[in-house]
Amino acid sequence: MNLPSGTLLAQSALSGLFVGALYGLLGLGLSLSWGLLRQINLAHFALAFLAAYVCFQLSSVAHVDPLLTLALIVPGCFAAGVAIQWLFARFRISPFNSLLVTFGLTVMLESLIQGIWTADFRRLESTYGDARFRLGPLYVPAPELLTFIVALALSLAVWAILKYTDAGRALRAAAEDGPIAEAFGIDRKKLALLLAGVSAASAGIGGVCIALSQTLAPSQIYAWIGVVFAAVMMGGLGRPFGPLVAGIVIGVSEALTMAITAPSWAPLVSFSLLLVVLLARPGRF
């Protein structure tokens, strides 16, 4: 095994950073709804891919600018998130059953995607796709950089909202002790609907980022689950910057593993990192 050159390693680390930002972006909504609502939304991934496919369809067939599709995707995903949360509240779904129900939903959405767009790989060709610039010896692709900026901005916004607004404080209080928070006049149901909507909207944004930078296939939905959940758990539940930081650690480690060994070993990286965290700090979970 030959060690690749420094430039190649740096380029790998950079692309790992960008993929990690995408993990963080997808993990943010999951972490929030798991940490603050005690609900595990597997359908988050299916929603992101549905958004990615919608973006793909609109821009490659109707020639809409991919970023403009956000105007449709963000409200659509928000509504979907609210609807799912309403269903959970209506049937008083336990955290565990939320996992099962959204698992069922994921399978349904995956079948829907496969039914419309087939199981073939799809790649969005847009003006953003080839845009890139040089930074010293390194190439920086524009869509990935955009993903990184969006992930950072969203994490920052969530952090600020949770820390400085009344709604954010109320959410944290409700997560700590729901009945007590309600006794103090917090409308837990409304907050939960809002949070679920926001988290689903972030999945939509993540989906557009996926469409801009990745190749799409319905089976990819499941490939992302493991690694993003690893980022969520390593980052700590309900912490705004947790998924992003953990995602970047995972992304960079994966990219370096791919550069040094073979690309097909990458799925092992996130799991090994999670295992290390589990073994080293079991009390954290």
Binding site: L87, F96, L99, V101, S111, G226, A262, S270, F285
Partner: protein, 631 residues
């Protein structure tokens, strides 16, 4: 022929053993009958269809042994199944090992993989259920990656077409049928016997409240590991057989979410709290599966699965069997409150001996029951409850426990002597309950020493502490919600210091239910009890363990003065039975009447210790309770 029984009727020991024999015989009899199917001369299609049905029954039932009983949902059954498949494929196709010999190896490899996952994930304390689900899901893809990238597969898949099919039946199809039948019989027997065993009751308790289960003596880690090992080994065998059945194994087809999705759906549909639930679910789903593949709509079929899973969880959360059971219960005769003896008479009951050498029943009378009716009583072997100056039973030295900076127990040293009733007093938040939680192992100790009859408890697991002879009640009752009142109590008789086998434990439990006046509620679920009854259930549960040291955490709060009088007499009798008692209480009358010695805590530290009347008059004690102005 109905393999499914609807409800657990009251059973005595013999009836119980007879029923175990009956169900076992039923499974065996059905197996023998089904073994003749290949000789009926049916077209091979039927054998193949039945093979698939049995195959899914094995997978769903094996999944249910861990995930249904204990509530730890695994999404990694595909990984364990696949591990078995590739073990057989590698051994049989590449190393020419005879096929039947590969099956034990397939079971072993799948089991080892499962135990490795369990050893890591089961150590986690807080979000363990969710974590287990997600880690097992990830394991599926990790094992798939490893298989794909190593010579185990290497990419193109493994052909088993050259492997001879063992000649068990007249045709190859019937041989597969018979192998799947054998695997199914073994799996069903395992699922049934585990459900009826001590291990099974422990798993159901873990499902409801794992922390309490551990404190009452259930070795939770070991129970989960055993269930996981059995579950994975059976999945491995199913994988081994299936590898030869499909004769071409690929990583892409094996390590998918199809297997976990299907088995979860089958078990949830049939009912996860019953060994036969997955059988019902697997039969329904296999038929549906066949309809879809025959109709050439596999993608639509998956979507229907997803939709079914959602509908079942929303509208039929207990599955078909659980739902039928509920209907049967709603229409069946209801035990009513009037069958309960009047509370004032509950002391007239026969008092089981808490003495650990003898399981015999002593009859003890108390002054309170002079007018007692029915039960035969003998004059009380009274005499005052002498404080027996016993040896040191429990010694705590410099015990500390903090919760994010707050020192709940701060440098507490105290000794509990054999045979005494020690009152633990103090205002709210003084650390009494935390002390109980530390001694019973509910919380881990930050610093200090804790020894019980010379044994170090500070580093013992909670279930070991319970088995050594420490039992407790919870201030806010925490019964296992899905276990009957009888099972709740029998659990501690099995897992506590008494360590009785299940049949005897149920008899023991009935005695304590008689004793606490809950006999009429034996088959009710804890949700049907009122607070008073739930408190007594806590007490019965602690007593059935036959503890040497009984920790009572505010058992009297919420009782009427009359009930308190009876409870005082009751606690005296428990002590006369040989137990030592730590008594946390705010009802001062009971403290003065019962305790030989009191220890007063304030802000996590001991501020006074001595004879009850004397201590309660001390200035610092009065200040702690009433504030400085009253001292």
């Amino acid at each position: 022929m109905s393999v499914i029984e609807l409800a657990d009727p009251p059973l005595r020991r013999d009836a119980r053993a007879a029923r175990t024999r009956n169900v076992t015989a039923l499974i065996a009899g059905a197996a023998v009958a089904l073994a003749f199917v290949p000789y009926l001369g049916l077209p091979p299609f039927y054998e193949s269809f039945l093979y698939l049905t049995f195959h899914w029954i094995v997978l769903a039932t094996s999944w249910n042994i861990l995930s249904g009983y204990s509530g730890y949902f695994s999404f990694g059954h595909g990984a364990f199944f696949g591990a078995g498949m590739y073990t057989t494929a590698t051994l049989a196709a590449k190393l020419d090992v005879p096929f039947l010999l590969t099956l034990p190896a397939a079971a072993f490899v799948a089991m080892t993989l499962g135990l490795a996952v369990g050893a890591v994930v089961f150590r986690v304390r807080r979000i363990r259920g969710e974590l287990f689900a997600l880690v097992t899901l990830a394991v599926t893809f990790v094992v798939g990656t490893v298989v794909l990238n190593t010579p185990i597969d290497g990419g193109p898949g493994v052909y088993l077409s050259g492997v001879p099919v063992p000649k068990l039946g007249p045709t190859a199809a019937s041989s597969f049928y018979l192998m799947a039948l054998a695997a199914m019989v073994v799996t069903l027997l395992a699922a049934y016997l585990i459900q009826r065993s001590k291990l099974g009751l422990g798993l159901f308790a873990i499902h409801d409240d794992e922390d309490v289960a551990e404190v009452l003596g259930v070795p939770t880690f070991r129970s989960k590991m055993i269930a996981l090992a059995v579950s994975c080994a059976l999945a491995g065998v199913a994988g081994g057989i299936h590898a030869l059945f499909v004769s071409y194994v690929t990583a892409g087809e094996t390590f998918t979410i199809t297997v976990p999705l299907t088995v979860v759906l089958m078990s949830v549909l049939g009912g996860t709290r019953h060994w036969a639930g997955p059988v019902v679910g697997a039969a329904i789903i296999t038929a549906l599966l066949y309809a879809f593949t025959a109709g050439n709509h596999p993608v639509a079929g998956r979507a229907v699965f997803g939709a079914l899973l959602i509908v079942v969880i929303l509208f039929l959360p207990d599955g078909v069997l659980g739902w039928r059971r509920k209907i049967a219960k709603a229409h069946g005769p209801k035990p009513t409150d009037d069958q309960l003896p009047p509370e004032s008479a509950f002391l007239d009951r026969r008092v089981p001996s808490a003495d650990e050498e003898s399981g015999t029943i002593e009859t003890v009378a108390t002054p309170a029951m002079a007018t007692g009716p029915s039960t035969a009583t003998t004059p009380a072997p009274t005499g005052p409850s002498m404080p027996r100056a016993g040896a040191d039973l429990l010694v705590a030295k410099h015990l500390r426990k903090s919760f994010s900076g707050v020192r709940a127990v701060d440098d507490v040293s105290l000794t509990i002597r054999e045979g005494e009733i020690l009152g633990l007093l103090g205002p709210n938040g003084s650390g009494k309950s935390t002390f109980i939680n530390l001694v019973s192992g509910h919380y881990l100790i930050d610093a200090g020493e804790l020894t019980f009859r010379g044994r170090d408890l500070a580093r013992s697991d909670a279930h070991v502490i319970a088995q050594l002879g420490i039992a407790r009640t919870y201030q806010i009752p925490r019964p296992f919600a899905h276990l009957t009142v009888l099972e709740n109590v029998a659990l501690t008789a099995m897992f506590g210091a008494a360590a009785l086998p299940r049949a005897e434990a149920e008899q023991e439990a009935e005695r304590w239910l008689d004793f606490t006046g809950l006999a009429a509620k034996r088959d009710a679920l804890p949700d049907d009890l009122n607070l008073h009854q739930r408190k007594f259930l806590e007490l019965a549960r602690a007593l059935a363990a036959r503890p040497r040291l009984l920790l009572l955490d505010e058992v009297l709060s919420g009782l009427t003065p009359g009930e308190i009088n009876e409870a005082i007499a009751l606690i005296r009798k428990i002590r006369d039975g040989g137990a030592t008692i730590v008594f946390v209480e705010h009802v001062m009358r009971a403290v003065l009447a019962l305790t030989d010695r009191v220890v007063v805590l304030d802000h996590g530290s001991v501020i006074a210790e001595g004879a009850p009347h004397e201590v309660m008059q001390r200035r610092e004690v009065v200040t702690a309770f009433l504030g400085a102005g009253h001292a």
